[in-house]
């Protein structure tokens, strides 16, 4: 039976793992390679590394971190942040990523999804969508949550899937870092709109939140960062609780 995935996300700034609340007030949370292998050992089904302050100046630092992290990581490894063109994606794959996540660049140039999928396969392309609720709709934001686009998140997810995205990484900006639970309404709307897997993100705070997003939100996977970095919840313990609640998870792992 296919299991629900628990994905640990490492937000990286200047080669260090950091965590903020609503994309602000960043705190240091450690070395990416060490964090990634620790999470995998603990039972994370997948690791996502997002370079949240990607600028041309620190691409090398970022690629070095990807290379070091990939060397001893044998679960799926996704890297995002600052990927603007096919060559950026190729460099990240070359450094050892299995999948890339694109966000702003995909909004600007949806054809980029097809370009990367055409060369590396759809399974390697994750389209990340940052959405915020406004007037009963979910609006897509880009540039690390700073710039509104006026686009509807559900329609954009459909379009991204049609362009060849392999998965959607859907972050609720309203919930990100708050540990107040996933936005199950948003996740379910997108999960029912597309046939590709949807990874729910933003708001994980307790095992109950994961149960809710898998049952009510129909998520295929759920991603969290802050609860894993600071030991508020142990992944193995979380999976045991999900298992007891009847959610299929990779357990024991």
């Amino acid at each position: 039976m296919l299991t629900k995935r628990i994905i640990a996300c490492l937000d990286m700034d200047g080669g260090r793992v950091v965590k903020g609340v609503r994309f602000k007030n960043l705190r240091d949370a450690g070395d990416p390679a060490q964090c990634a292998t620790a999470h995998a050992r603990n039972g994370a089904d997948e690791i996502v590394l997002l370079d949240i302050t990607a600028t041309s100046g620190n691409r090398r630092t970022m690629l070095d971190a990807v290379r070091t992290t990939a060397r001893s990581l044998f679960v799926p490894f996704t890297v995002g942040g600052g990927i603007r063109q096919l060559e950026d994606a190729a460099a990240v794959f070359d450094a050892g990523a299995d999948k890339i996540a694109i966000n702003s660049a995909a909004v600007r140039e949806p054809a980029l999804i097809a370009k990367i999928a055409g060369r590396f396969g759809s399974q390697a392309v994750v389209v990340a969508i940052d959405a915020r609720k406004a007037n009963g709709k979910f609006e897509v934001f880009v540039a690390g949550g700073r710039t509104p686009t006026g686009m509807d998140a559900i329609q954009w997810a459909r379009d991204a899937a049609a362009c060849g995205a392999g998965e959607i990484l859907l972050t609720s900006m309203d919930r990100d870092g708050t540990q107040s639970g996933f936005d199950c309404g948003l996740v379910r709307a997108v999960a029912e709109a597309v046939s590709i897997p949807v990874i729910a993100s933003g708001g994980a705070g307790s095992a109950r939140d994961f149960i809710d997003v898998f049952r009510d939100g129909r998520a295929d996977a759920a991603l969290a960062a802050s609860i894993f970095h600071f030991g508020l919840e142990n992944i193995a313990q979380l999976k045991l609780e999900l298992h007891h609640a009847g959610i299929p998870v990779r357990w024991p792992c």
């Binding site: 039976m1 296919l2 299991t3 629900k4 995935r5 995998a40 089904d45 990939a70 060397r71 001893s72 044998f74 679960v75 799926p76 794959f93 070359d94 050892g96 299995d98 590396f120 396969g121 759809s122 399974q123 390697a124 392999g166 998965e167 046939s195 590709i196 897997p197 295929d220 996977a221 990779r250 792992c253």
Partner: protein, 204 residues
Amino acid sequence: MIAIVDYGAGNLNSVKKAFDFLGADVVVTDQPETLAAADKVVLPGVGHFSSLQALDRAGLRNALLQNAAAGKPFLGICLGMQWLFEGSEECPELAGAGIFPGKCRKFPSLVKSPHVGWNSLAVTEGSRLLRRIAQHSFVYYTHSFHAPVVAETTAASEYGLRFAGAVERGNIFGVQFHPEKSGDVGLSILKNFCEIESVRSKRC
């Protein structure tokens, strides 16, 4: 020496990295001569079945079939396993190697496609590739087409239907999942492959 076949289909880093981690002597190659000189061959691959056309163009198809016929251990991963069957609905005009019977098909519409994530294996006893792999071990899959369960199936998974997770005949092995991304279980399977003796080395 283990040769990983590079035919331009996706990213071979992960597979090479896993063999490096196990301490295996491994090269990535697109040269038929290197395949002929190798003790074992790994055919990885992700993406569309049509990308396997590159094997014909590069003269790799014959080299692969010769290696397999010579009893050298052969491991097809994901698309590389699908190639071992007769073909795929995904690209009907392209023939597979036909070593295992049947064609790869799309998943039924009642389930989301692609099938992405960790699924459990129903392991058949006696598999050499899956030696000491526990029943219901979890492995990582990512694919839209699946191979049928045949007599040579050594592990099956369920996703809308029962499909072949692993196949084995003589020294020819295929896995639909990604052992290089399946944690300790996957590394154990690759280690088993490293330890399988080729017919040639048995004679020595």
